[in-house]
Subunit: 199 residues, 2 copies
């Protein structure tokens, strides 16, 4: 039996498709939106459309950006000689919060994972290599997640880069092994950055 | 410092305004939407706009509806002589799931709560009274939440209705006192409905 009118059922279904949102929460959020004034609900819908339309990838570091170059890559204050390689855009936010890092980033958008059929060509390694060959880069810091996929990716990339005579380092295992970068606190991440070792 | 480009920050902010969504979850959901194919993200935005535009209130029972009368009120199979009064549209869904109730509903959209400055005129009691005076109604079942506000509302409405010679009942306290209807299981709710007592 249908308990909801179809536009409401649709909205509940859309919420339920989001990660970590169950039945009850989807229902609660949909009712919340229905009870909002029109302009607030429409503003939410607009935020989704705007974000999808305006946000592309920085042509240099591959981070989300609303212009050709992201603010980090475009900043003259950032050291273009040191590239910190991370798996996801949210890892950049975590790194920035440490206030320890003055270089630039490269976002892979994933990690090598044979189990999930994700190989080196499925993440943005080619884009990283084209930055390396410019000659300006002195060090590449591998800040992929401290789990199997992240370690594999770090090792793979370090082997690609070393022939160019560029220093490749790995953030120290101050970050708890087996976890994900996203959940590390600022201090742990800062320690991990300071204690990085050459690969 | 701004860690996010502004369309992304907007989207995160919109998610954070939803009830029960914290910082990390808002960030996670926003990134999830950014990573979706355009058409899926736009479908989500559309679902919000559609729901807001198409859904109004049933002119009889005040439930959410996409037509003048909701499916329950429009159904010839439902007994128009018995009205079950609930606080919120989601309570109707819970009631329907019991398969015990063949009458119709009235949704108050809230409960009397002097603490929150919500008086009898702020919820849809007037609309209920205009249904009562038609002469067709034999019984009104008060299924407001079994907490202070719900009990107050039930008592208030029963005093208004009794002069019309209509039976007013209250669902039995099979539902845990102090809780909210939304979290009751079907069996408990069915028991509560069967054991209703006259007020």
């Amino acid at each position: 039996m249908d308990y909801y009118v179809s536009p409401l059922q649709n909205l509940i279904d859309e919420f339920r498709r989001l990660p970590g949102i169950g039945n009850k929460t989807a229902q609660r959020l949909a009712y919340h939106l229905l009870n909002l004034p029109d302009e607030k609900a429409f503003r939410f819908a607009d935020a989704i459309v705007e974000a999808k339309k305006k946000i592309t990838y920085c042509k240099t570091c591959q981070n989300f950006s609303d212009s050709e170059q992201c603010t980090v890559c475009a900043s003259p204050a950032r050291d273009k000689g040191v590239i910190c390689v991370v798996e996801n855009p949210k890892d950049v936010v975590q790194m920035e919060k440490t206030n320890e890092f003055k270089g630039v980033y490269h976002i892979l958008h994933g990690a090598i994972s044979p189990m999930d059929n994700i190989g080196p060509d499925d993440i943005r390694i080619k884009e990283l290599m084209s930055r390396i060959t410019g000659g300006e880069v002195r060090e590449v810091i591998m800040a992929t997640n401290p789990n199997l996929e992240g370690e594999t990716t770090a090792m793979y990339i370090s082997k690609l880069i070393k022939p160019f005579g560029i220093k490749v380092t790995r953030i120290a295992h101050g970050v708890p092994v087996g976890g994900e970068l996203e959940f590390a606190d600022e201090i742990t991440l800062a320690r991990a950055l300071q204690g990085r070792i050459e690969l």
